[in-house]
């Protein structure tokens, strides 16, 4: 069967290369958007780690700081809680205005309220959680005020939605296009070999004997197509990474190649789509 599939693959090499190329192109588009999405996630994670909720405590509540700290750390989605005493806040300000110390001449640390800085897991990807958490904390009796980067979060939320939609839509469109092309290739191949198929049936070949080589051919096409696409994606990623590392500003953001598990999932889905299309197309054309 495998020998027959390879022989048939060689016999129709033009069509086969064309199909491999189309599959490679489709996987390339999906892989490109997936890489884009992975890097978007990375950037958002980096920004998230700097973005958090600032909780201002009512003056005179210093004694209850430890209990409040415990309560905050137990909240769902909270990565870290840091207590900023009035002294630390004043120290930070002094550091900020170190070139103009006269500005802080008459200011005493006691005017700063005690605060907590909270970092939330994937704050940008789940902006609703951030807002919900801020709202919840603001209702606590000892809390004076709660602040978080609302504007930032809102705009990032929009962008995140667009990227997600783009990635999913492109994947669906490209997979449908691949299925269409594979189906047509199979139909053309079956048509060009109808004489052979007729003879096979007349001498007593079973449906599986006729169909398996076609399925194996599609498998070979899908594997070659994926190999070409991921060679380009990983080659391109390596080149892009080198370029980014040369730029000091971009180097801080960094660049991530497509994780292998994503590549395996894309390959698996492509193979499943191609094989399903082949079987459906064959059943229609061969009427077996």
């Amino acid at each position: 069967m495998i020998k027959r599939a390879i022989r048939d693959f060689k016999a129709n090499i033009g069509t086969q290369i064309g199909t491999c190329f189309v599959i490679a192109l489709s996987v390339l588009v999906v892989g490109f958007f997936a890489t884009l999405y992975v890097n978007f996630l990375n950037i958002s994670e980096q920004i998230s780690s700097r973005l958090g909720i600032v909780v201002y405590i009512k003056p005179g509540s210093e004694e209850q700081i430890p209990q409040l700290y415990q309560k905050l750390t137990k909240l769902k989605g909270v990565i870290s809680v840091k207590y900023i005493s009035p002294k630390i806040a004043f120290k930070r300000l002094k550091e900020y205005f170190k070139d103009e110390p006269q500005i802080l001449e008459d200011i005493k640390p006691s005017i700063f309220p005690p605060t907590f800085e909270i970092h939330v897991k994937q704050a940008l990807l789940n902006p609703e959680n951030l807002a919900k958490l801020a709202q919840e904390i603001s209702k606590w009796p000892l809390v004076e005020k709660v602040q978080y980067g609302k504007g930032w979060v809102e705009s990032f939320k929009g962008l995140s939605k667009i990227v997600k939609i783009l990635a999913i839509t492109s994947a669906i469109i490209v997979l449908l296009a691949t299925a269409f092309v594979v189906a047509n290739t199979i139909r053309l191949t079956i048509y060009s070999r109808r004489n052979e198929i007729e003879i096979l049936r007349l001498v007593g070949a079973t449906s599986s004997f006729i169909q398996i080589p076609f399925i194996l051919e599609t498998l070979i096409q899908a594997l070659i197509g994926n190999f070409i696409a991921f060679a380009i994606i990983y080659g391109g990623s390596f080149y892009f990474k080198t370029l980014i590392l040369q730029n000091p500003i971009l180097a801080t953001i960094g660049f991530s190649s497509l994780p292998i598990k994503y590549a395996l999932v894309i390959t698996f889905i492509t193979i499943v789509v191609c094989l399903m299309t082949t079987v459906i197309s064959m059943n229609k054309t061969l009427k077996v």
Binding site: N195, E196, E198, I199, L200, R201, L202, V203, G204, A205, T206, S207, F209, V288
Partner: protein
Amino acid sequence: MIEDSFILELKKVSKVYPPNIPALKDISFKVKRGEFVFLTGPSGAGKTTLLKLLFRAEKASSGEIWIEGLEVGSITRGQLPFLRRKIGVVFQDFKLLQDRTVLENVGLSLEIMGYGRKQIERRVKQILKAVGLEGKENICVAQLSGGEQQRVAIARAVINRPSILLADEPTGNLDKKRTKEVIELLEELNAMGTTIILATHDDTLFKNTHRRVLFLKDGHMEA
């Protein structure tokens, strides 16, 4: 059920093509195991249609066809390949893969049954010797003459030792000398025990023969 001494039995078999074109009407006959039967009649009498019904290339509109204890009309699509393996067919237009070698064409009947490469090669060489094509296994079919191609078709039809061989105008494209060779080859196969049904419009093939001859005219079987 078919009697054991008979390999084939047709009971009131009819074939009507749409919209309402009758091709065969109430055909009934029996063929004994090991018999050599000629099926004859003018062009358009229904000879090819009758053969097609036997190996289920087409389905009878009514009646029953029994081959080796199987009712051809009632077998499923899944069982069909196994019926066809019991029947060797020599087609009028040979139905050979022109871009493949003699070995690949003849070996096809064994390949579908799961035989290994070495076994196929050994059996193909044996059968090619029997049909007078010894040493031609690696030649592309397109390079062979009409007579040689016909013998390749016969070799493919009998290589898996079918119990019954159907030959549709096997000498239709051959000259007298080649025709004689093919008939002699079929006689040899019959002598080895293969039941043969040969459809032909050429009455010289069965003149002066002791073989049974079935006459078809306008879809009817004549006595």
